[in-house]
């Protein structure tokens, strides 16, 4: 019985957040009325010519640098020819054998394990327009009553990142994508909005006997934009391939569609895929010559990248690798956490609160870190209130919930609801005395040597104080009252 291992490679497409399109001066927008951002160029009127958006080259180069690629000093745009209504020139200006950047790598974490994936290339191209099919089924052009084209998106700068087949598992593929997305966001070159398809990818996967160095025949999963579906699709496709091979069959090089409802992969009609793109150098553009000094300038101006920040979080804040990964991977959350610490909260409690209550709140509310009513100031104040014993940890959670509900400062909530920790000896002594008096049997047990019954008393006191009693003081007072 052979043991099999999967080999996965990814091709990622990222729309860049430049102000204007890749080859014309139309604004890149989201959600505007259809066909309001078009011109002779992005509608491919006769005689119109492309002009390269320098900002897009800069953004693409910055991504390439962050992926440790070498940016090539001379690169060429090619025409990729095919007919489709969303492609007005009937060719996409893309790059082929002389792309912007090649031969890089990206390090990412899967649990505690750091993996490295080689990056084959990063190249620039333009996005297609958006098609809307009316009538018919499943939003396909075939069988629809009619189709409409919105050219607002057409010509948006797009970069393609092609990995080597270095990814060992579906989970690793998902992690790589998530962490790479964080990297791109960190660079400020794309928001990578998933719903709007600003980042989408194709995965290719093959299997081989464990330990083998040869690659098996791969299949391709096209145009995905959900991390969960990617993992599900790979989880379905890998066993399918193993099953075929173990039954003595062969894998066809084909493009598959993943149906999340059935959890299975099925081949797309091969006719749709029988493309000969007839690439040839785009004669309307001259070779793009990139000054190495400019690349160095870009390199120097790069922000701290997530991987470096995770390392710094472990060193600077004494966080565990796991905590540093949670807090340091994504720009917004990392910035939020660092602000909480900068405002005086202890690094570790701040980490616990940010990863615990705060992240849960973001997820529940569907918010991005840094948005909503829980500002870094408010969380810092709350953490400090807990740290200095003004409120207990459990009351703190209550304060946190009320901070959201009432959009108020934590100290005001503590005052309003009397959530401050009771550290007043006489007040607590009265409660302790009452509890001791009400539970003679347990007092007897304790005095008979069952020390653990102290826990019962602490619980009763905490309950009576509404969770506000200072636990240390309660312990002291109980031991005194119980006569030890």
């Amino acid at each position: 019985m052979t043991a099999w291992e999967p080999v996965i490679g990814l091709e990622m497409h990222v729309e860049l957040d430049t102000r204007t399109k890749m080859f014309c001066a139309c604004e890149v927008t989201k959600g505007d009325a259809p066909n309001t951002h078009t011109c002779p160029r992005c509608l491919a009127h006769p005689g119109a010519l492309p002009v390269v958006n320098q900002r897009a080259v800069e953004y693409a180069a910055r991504i390439a640098l962050a992926l440790n690629c070498s940016v090539r000093p001379r690169n060429i745009f090619h025409r990729k020819n095919y007919f489709y209504p969303d492609l007005p020139k009937a060719y996409q200006i893309s790059q082929y054998d002389e792309p912007l950047a090649v031969e890089g790598w990206f390090e990412y974490w899967v649990g505690d394990e750091k993996l490295r994936c080689r990056i084959n290339r990063v190249h620039m191209e333009e996005d297609a327009a958006k098609l809307i099919h009316a009538g018919g089924d499943a939003g396909r052009i075939a069988g629809s009553d009619y189709s409409m084209v919105d050219f607002n998106r057409g010509g948006t700068p797009l970069i393609e990142i092609v990995s080597e087949p270095d990814i060992p598992s579906p989970e690793a593929a998902r992690e790589l994508l998530q962490q790479l997305r964080n990297l791109v966001i960190e660079l400020g070159v794309s928001e990578c909005n998933m719903e709007e398809g600003q980042i989408r990818w194709d995965a290719n996967v093959s299997v081989r006997p464990k330990g083998s160095t040869e690659l098996g025949t791969r299949t391709e999963l096209k145009n995905m934009n959900s991390f969960r579906y990617l993992q599900q699709a790979l989880d379905a496709e890998i066993p399918r391939q193993v099953e075929v091979l173990e039954a003595g069959g062969t894998i066809d090089l084909e493009t598959l569609h993943f149906d999340p409802d059935t959890g299975t992969t099925t081949p797309l009609r091969s006719k749709e895929e029988a493309h000969d793109y007839r690439y040839f150098p785009e004669p309307d553009l001259v070779p793009l010559v990139i000054d190495p000094a400019w690349v160095e300038e870009l390199r120097r101006a790069q922000p701290e990248l997530p991987a470096a920040r995770v390392e710094r979080f472990t060193a600077q804040y004494g966080l565990s690798r796991a905590d540093a990964l949670v807090l340091g991977s994504a720009h917004a959350l990392a910035a939020f956490y660092e602000e909480v610490v900068a405002l005086g909260a202890g690094a570790k409690p701040a980490a616990n609160w940010t990863m615990g209550e705060y992240l849960a709140h973001l997820n529940a509310a569907g918010l991005e870190a840094g948005h909503g009513h829980v500002t870094a100031e408010r969380l810092a104040k709350l953490v400090k209130l807990v740290e200095d014993g003004t409120v207990s940890t459990s009351s703190g959670k209550d304060v946190f919930a009320k901070m959201i509900a009432e959009r108020a400062e934590p100290e005001d909530i503590v005052d309003k609801y009397g959530l401050g920790q009771i550290s007043d000896t006489s007040e607590l002594a009265a409660i302790v005395a009452a509890i001791v008096a009400a539970n003679p049997a347990q007092v007897e047990q304790y005095r008979g040597g069952k020390q653990q019954v102290i826990g019962f008393f602490v619980g009763q006191v905490m309950k009576a104080s509404g969770g506000r009693a200072n636990p240390q003081l309660v312990n002291e007072l109980l031991r005194k009252a119980l006569g030890t």
Partner: protein
């Protein structure tokens, strides 16, 4: 108003008359509109005469002459109908763009409009500039005013015929493999293809992007320089455009002292008609008389230039013409059943046979498995052709050749044989492959039809070419004007005279 002969008037003279107030812009425009009325039914140079535009803008120039004292203000021009003009239908002589109304204006046209030239209309061409006779137009066949039975050349045949026939003072054309120089030669006028990139291609409906170049068709070398001055320049809308290292100067040379002129043996081996060869040799004698020196040179890869061109140009065209898909503008077939049907019938019905032929050749040449053998090798040949020229220009200042191997040929005589048609451009195509500037000037007649003399220079040597051409033009003193005779009709008459009895029925 002075009586003006549109068959002889140059822009240089017309400009002086306008500035001196001897003629108004409206009167000047009328000279050409009258000539159009007189000869256009026989020449058919224009796809669209813009009467209203000509009237409106010439009147405006007259009204605001003081304010509009631009160097070209009021000088009437014809524009090849493959340059988009906002508000004026631009067809590229194709059914697929029959009713296409551009939403913007080509940079070169915009430049002359801004100088207040008066546009007379849009001229005929081979569909998408693919051809050498203007017979591939989807709408009409333009005839050569020197002999209405012959073609004016192509693809800028409409522009060349319009200027030669006095239907325009001057014109803009485009040259991909000889499409300005060859019709200029066949129509007895001056035509220049500038250095690739010197004139913006923005708004020129692309045939072969790496070869196309806009240029002037005029009645004199001076006019050619004057018009060229106003269309060159870097255009941020065209990434391949470049600024000339020095401004275009108006030529005044009368001598060629010290000029070394290379004569490529390969160009003269290519089946040049005896009459053309005779005029060419006479012109070389003039070169020497003016103080120049003619030396034989070699351009050894010339024989491969034509096949390389007929790979590269169709390859680029196959992609450039893919946008005509019926989705956004232009012709769309009736009642398509689905997307593929719409693509196939729109393009099948919209394009003519020569365009389809080149799309198929180009598509094939770029196909997987054939790319290296065709497109890849053609690009290598292109490099060799370019190298031939740069080696030659180490020893000579300019290169001279006949512009075309033959004078104007009879309409219909080559349409059935594409290869014989392609041979028209044997002396002009290598220049486009190398991106060089070249001019054609008339150097005499052969059998009553004009012969063109081509001067080729290194990149950006426009001024050198114009000066030399100007000096030669003066020495040649080409004086005849087209007669609008029709040798086809004469042949019929001759047949009748030879004794074919005419029956008279009453």
């Amino acid at each position: 108003m002075t009586s003006l002969d549109p068959l002889r008037l140059t822009a240089r003279v017309a400009k002086r008359l306008l500035v001196d107030g001897e003629i108004s812009a409206a009167e000047l425009a009328k000279v050409y509109l009258d000539q159009i009325a007189a000869v256009e039914p026989r020449v058919r140079a224009y796809i669209r005469v813009t009467y209203d535009n000509a009237a409106k803008y010439s009147t405006k120039v007259d009204r605001e002459m003081q304010a509009l004292r631009g160097p070209l203000a009021g000088l009437p021009i014809a524009i090849k109908d493959n340059m988009v003009t906002e508000g004026v239908i631009t067809t590229c002589a194709s059914r697929i763009l029959r009713d296409y109304m551009p939403v913007y204006t080509a940079t070169a046209v915009r430049q002359v409009w801004d100088d207040h030239v008066v546009m007379l209309g849009k001229t005929n061409l081979d569909e998408f500039a693919m051809g050498s006779s203007t017979e591939n137009s989807a709408f009409q066949t333009t005839r050569n005013p020197w002999d209405l039975a012959t073609v004016p050349g192509g693809s800028s045949g409409g522009s060349a015929a319009a200027v030669a026939a006095g239907e325009a003072l001057w014109a803009l054309g485009s040259d991909t493999g000889g499409s300005i120089r060859q019709p200029a030669a066949l129509c007895g006028i001056v035509g220049m293809k500038p250095t690739y990139g010197a004139v913006s291609r923005y708004g020129l409906i692309a045939f072969a992007s790496s070869l196309d170049q806009i240029g002037p068709l005029t009645r004199s070398v001076y006019d050619c320089a004057l018009l060229l001055q106003h269309i060159v320049g870097h255009d941020h809308n065209d990434a391949t455009s470049v600024a000339l290292p020095e401004p275009v100067a108006l030529p005044d040379a009368e001598r060629l002292d010290g000029l070394r002129v290379g004569i490529p043996a390969e160009y003269l081996a290519a089946g040049i008609e005896p009459g053309v060869r005779a005029r060419f040799d006479e012109t070389l004698a003039r070169v020497e008389e003016l103080g120049g020196r003619c030396v034989e040179i070699g351009l050894p890869h010339t024989e491969y230039a034509l096949p390389a061109y007929y790979i590269i140009a169709p390859a680029e065209a196959s992609a450039n013409l893919a946008r005509f898909d019926g989705v956004r503008y232009g012709y769309r077939c009736a009642d398509p059943v689905d997307l593929l049907d719409m693509y196939e019938r729109t393009r099948g019905e919209g394009f003519g046979p020569e365009v389809k032929r080149r799309i198929m050749i180009g598509t094939y040449a770029l196909s997987a498995g054939y790319y290296d053998a065709y497109y890849g090798r053609a690009q290598k040949v292109r490099t060799l052709v370019r190298r031939d020229f740069s080696r030659a220009f180490a020893d000579v200042d300019l290169i001279a050749s006949p512009t075309t191997p033959s004078v104007a040929f009879k309409a219909g005589s080559r349409t059935a044989d594409p290869l014989s048609m392609y041979m028209c451009d044997i002396c002009t195509i290598p220049v486009n492959l190398a991106g060089l500037p070249a001019i054609s000037i008339p150097c005499g007649l052969s059998d009553g039809l004009p012969v063109g003399f081509q001067l080729i220079g290194p990149a950006f040597s426009e001024n050198r070419i114009l000066q030399a051409a100007h000096a030669l033009e003066g020495a040649i003193g080409f004086a005849p004007a087209p007669t609008f005779r029709d040798s086809g009709a004469e042949a019929d008459v001759a047949g009748a005279a030879a004794g074919v009895p005419l029956e008279v029925h009453e």
